[in-house]
Point group: D3
């Protein structure tokens, strides 16, 4: 598809992970939609929306596991489409507004999640986190601001060590944080956690069955937490809900390059024996039974309630415009 | 304690992990016991055993979590002590023989474990291994020699990546081996394992309750395997049984240096914010309920049977000479 | 109650299982309602609905465990009742239309279930089914049409061997299908299933607690699937929801004739020793915790969400007309 | 805060448990709100509501764990506030009406719970109850009235023996009731319960995660029931739902005086050795996974459905007037 | 191998299941060993044992899953071999005696199992049995003789309906017995069983991990019993222990002819669509965690104790004569 | 049976619980056996043992659930019987010695249990105990003597409040002890316990399946501990093993007088409505799967190992003299 140069760059940056994080990717995709929309040469409503739809569909293909990005494109498109106007200039203005509105809304969503999540942080207690999630960091900073006294254990999260980013951000903020290898999560649960101590993770996607798709390793931590009777919360706005799962589609699990696993010093791929391979899945699925609740902008909701809350809020319907 | 220079070196090498592996450490400690015993200036039986006991007790302190080393010293000491001789030269000769005998016996033990374990490897199936264990590698090579067709998933085993050693040794032998990050173990169980596929691990210590003390992360893999109804086997000679646990002592969990976790590139300890710490446990405990059986030189025995088998074989008694 | 001959025949055919399947029974009962309604001699609205209610109540008694039939009668009755008309002819016309509409709607429901369910069938995977369900067969045929490559294990489903019907229909369609005795379900799960492989069953009733009432044996298969971490889906339109359970009524479990169990050759009831009996329950209850989701026309919903979705869609209220 | 003498007395009676039971406390608090409202000297709408809000906020502090009381105050306040009137007399009249309406409504709620719950009582079966709950007693009496044949086991519920009150009320009504110590609940489940036998308890609060906060010991009974595959129902109107939990607040667990535990004869606190303490929590938390359903005025709903049903019914919103 | 005609017939009868039951097959194989031994033309000890070993090895191949048969041959061979005699006539006489002794011993074993097992039958209670086992029938008859009042539910055990044999034998003895389809086992557990009610099954083999290999379906019944907190006992002499499993060998699961599943009336294999297959496994594996104890001649022992008890009693050693 | 007055008094004191505790009861029964033996008028060996057996059998009937008492009588009887002497005076002397020896041995057993158990008490941790057990108190005092820093939660143990005795003894010794009602055990586990914190209980009997028969409520505490992944230890000498269970006998559960439950103030039995009853079981059964190990004089052994250890040590055989 012929697109603006900027759009192409955004597309590539998302695809190659130069733009990281689901929120960031969604924002970038909307930016690209705006660029394309404003650049449309359409003279009438019909043509404008035909152009806009094509751009949206193109942008939706950038990554397989990005419900937030797809939701963002669909929501903005639908909102612009609601305007009955036939004036393309007005529609372009509407597009501009809706993209802005989406971003403002996202900020509010994050604020709510931080607020609600902070109240779940146990005073005098311990929080175990896996990987890096902007929402989880926001929750913990908010709790710290409110003078809740707690400490954090952060799993380093191989292969890309995003847990280090979490650990650095929290400790720089003053929150006592202990870094552990991913394998030590169960021992941390056994040795240091009791009472209302919690596990906090983000979310890459939420399915209609209430399952959580998140960074590889999340399901192991959640299983151990379940075994130890500790609550597991996923901090995630409702825009992480993947409506396609409602109609039976599975959430694909991205596999990433083996060089991420086999990169250091003397352990490079090119030196590998023939029979040696690498399997490098980016996500795993934590079944609803291992998630106590999602911390969303609508409140703290168990998985099965979240599905209905999203439905109610978003008026989900299979007959969507894009 | 004043010891021979060689003995001191061996002691330090074990302590600083230059000598790695429980079998290797036990062999080295026996070597040191032999050096000390042969160097004894005692003129009579009483003095000789007084010297030998002192050496043995010194060597037992080298590491907290080494039942095999302690068992080896005790077994050899007791065997030499059984000789009624009053002739120190004869007793020294006996010491020499017993050290040799212990090592020969260890070789036989490994042979038996490899033989029995190989029969548990599923033809056409998949084996998941964690960390590096000489016994597990021996089992898998034996199975490969016997033309069993299987593939292996090896967890990389942070922080020291011993899983890479496993993966390299197996793949160089021709066994199809796939390396995964530790966090991916549960997904491997979900996606690739079924039927009689098994998890194989080694053992650092076995307690009288049948619990398995092994490399950090083992208990998470075993928990996931239990959740997926897959059998977990620990390949370990009965010399890994820690008799002290029979009398109530817990198995201490060694914590290792934080630099092992925070070592790479821009993530060094000295650059850490004040609030950032590292917790680096070397082992965790896999409860007996998550271990189907130990593969020992006596056969494939469930944890609770192993305790009794060791008792029966070794004639355990609290009144030990050392 | 005095009814038309045709109505009587339909009633008897449902009762004696000459008309089999919940959808078929519901359709037949509506047909009978239409017959009775059209035959009504009432001269005014009040009398007409009095007649119609009597017919509906009579038809509702035909079998104890048929929420779909009861739902169908109630929905059609309520829809006809909504017309404000006083003209009996018009009301009869309305009845005619509503019965038709119900059946059209049912067809659409089945189409949606087939579509959504087909997306849950794992490409390259395995599906385990129990008993015979039109919806499950439709799902699997749809998946086959869409060139998903899968195979099926079908439990034979004693005593009436409905699994053979499933196996025949699927294999005649070209889907590789393997028939097993009911007792072999757990071994099939152990030996042949992994990853996203699923268990698919139908539904005779769904309770407000999210429990699934279905053919005897379903709960054992679901329990084994749960133990093996496999997803269990019940393919069932929302018309299988029994609203009475919302108000505390239990779902009765029909017991059927012992001759179904003791019928073959030399094992007939009349030859039984006095102390020998047969217990032949038609259904069992699979608790919500063992059902991952229901595949309905509204989407793939976990049990607890389904309850709310039905409520929202159907506007359930205890104050119903019949 | 300066309040009417009667109000002060009510406040103190609730705080010191002279007024017992969540329904009773809520009713008393409303009574106090009415007293204060009617006594308001405000001349205009604004001042009246300022007074009323102050009273409501004061009354809300009386006990930490009383969502019903807080819900009652909020609902009545909001309803009065809806009147657009500027006439203080009219607003006072409205307050009067709303308090009455709340109480009438509560009566209806109890009637519905009794009706729906009674249908869950197994004919020929056994019911296990813990503590004293007006709703549970109402359910059992209703079932008895409807000639359901059942017997009850009642846990005595230390430290205040509220189970004796339950046992007395039921047995005086003619229901065969057996009193057991709290420790015997699991043995009762093992020895006497099967099939559709149930555990019935009340509720002090319900959280947005679907967890049940109820009298200490409830979670142990529910855990044992779960282990024995018996259904656990909490009989509780939706007014027991604590909306604050939706926004992340935990439900505080009240600790009560140690004299309740150490009161009898020779076992008084003042005679205690220095190292002897008492821990006397009033409630514990039964996680949603151990509760099959709540029996509410809206129907029998699983925990996760209840959250959404309350939301739908009550139009919950964080922006509340009080 | 050239064998006596009678031996050949016995061999074939065992192979084709004309001789059914593990005890019966073992007895027949010993009979054949006797025939061959007595017919030996050997003139000296060495030749005689060479002949006898050949016969024993031949007989051991008759079926893959028959540890009892293999144990019987090994035990008798070893016992005869112990005699130091060089006189072939004397050795033949010894063989004769040992075969007799084995059979007498088996009778005693059965008596002990009946005696111990009968004490586990709950007075006033219910027993659930799967398939047909001589030991289980003996236990129940013994309990009935001792005036224990109980009733039995027997699963019919597809495909060969051995449960009917059980039901007939028990009911003819006067024991109230109810036949159910295999799928109804879980409902029987839910509806009719409580307190010390038990599940009784036989055993085809017991592994060194304490797992029970028994008729297909056993593991589903045991899983449901475990879920319902009911004790599961396998009535089996220690001769069902398969010593090969101690050294790592798996117990093979026999697959039987598909005609057993697809045999009746209009459902014959030859009429099958091409895509329709049958999978007909004879056994499944019930993991040790689902078996409370084995009822053996040594007493009622949990799986892990049994392994050690057999070891102790039988002096198991890998270095066996045959 | 005609017995000495002192014997009669001992018998009655045991029966009416004036002599409390299994150790105390066993000692008293042996004392009575000694009295009776010494008072025997027999002139020869045969008559003496006939008398002694009669006395022993009489004493064994005093309480149904006392394996320790039965074991003590049997052990002493057997030991005396071993003497080949025909001289009654000598046999009486032997009886005297054996009773003494038994008691000395018991003291040693208790010492060992205290020693081994003390090593399981977590330094800086928490111990939860249920009921009163001399062994558990000895373990905790020993741990305190060894300067282990820990605190204890003690369940009060209705109906007889034996937990108060535990709490008093421990706190008087200086051990920080917190008393809770039995219902609070799970909350104590949730709120205060982590890492290697343990549950310690005594034992009234141990069965051959490894099940623990102990004070009512033990199984609930153990179930909650299992749910929270905490280790449960039963401190009990091997003399608590009931050999009769090896041969299939169940351990009877004593029911005690209802006045124990319904005793205080206004809640007396005579004031009860007709429909009000009390069920007052003295013990419950904690299944082997919920007990990590028994702390015995032989060491810390998992349930299934204990059975074999006892067998090995005690040379159990069904053919016992009494």
């Amino acid at each position: 598809m012929a697109v603006q140069a900027k759009t192409k760059k955004i597309y590539d940056d998302i695809r190659t992970l130069r733009i990281q994080g689901a929120d960031e990717a969604a924002a970038a995709a909307l930016e690209a939609l705006r660029i394309e929309g404003l650049a449309s040469k359409a003279r009438n409503r019909k043509d404008f929306f035909s152009d806009l739809r094509a751009s949206a569909l193109y942008l939706k293909t950038v990554r397989p596991t990005e419900p937030e990005l797809r939701n963002a494109l669909r929501l903005v498109f639908t909102a612009v489409h609601k305007s009955p106007s036939d004036d393309v200039a007005e529609l372009k203005h509407g597009l501009d507004k809706q993209v802005e509105k989406y971003e403002e809304n996202l900020k509010k969503v994050r604020g709510k999640i931080a607020e609600y999540g902070a109240r779940l942080v146990p005073d005098g207690g311990t929080v175990l986190v896996h990987c890096h999630s902007g929402s989880v960091v926001a929750v913990l900073k908010k709790a710290f601001d409110e003078e809740i006294d707690f400490k954090v254990f952060a799993c380093e999260t191989r292969p890309l060590y995003q847990g280090r980013k979490t650990a650095r951000q929290l400790s720089e903020y003053g929150i006592p944080t202990t870094l552990v290898v991913d394998s030590a999560a169960r021992l941390v649960l056994t040795r240091f956690m009791r009472d209302s101590d919690v596990v906090l993770v983000g979310a890459d996607a939420i399915t209609s069955e209430g399952d959580l798709v998140n960074k590889i390793g999340t399901s192991q931590v959640a299983l151990s937490a379940f075994e130890h009777e500790k609550h597991v919360y996923s901090c995630a706005g409702t825009h992480k809900f993947d409506p396609l799962t409602l109609w039976g589609s599975g959430e694909p699990i991205e596999e990433r390059d083996s060089s991420e696993v086999a990169v250091s010093g003397d352990f490079k791929l090119k030196k590998f024996p023939k029979a040696l391979h690498v399997f490098n899945p980016a996500f795993d699925v934590t079944e609803a039974k291992y998630v106590n609740a999602f911390v969303t902008e609508l409140g703290v909701l168990p998985p099965q309630s979240l599905v209905m809350a999203v439905w109610k809020e978003l008026g989900l319907s299979e007959k969507q415009l894009i």
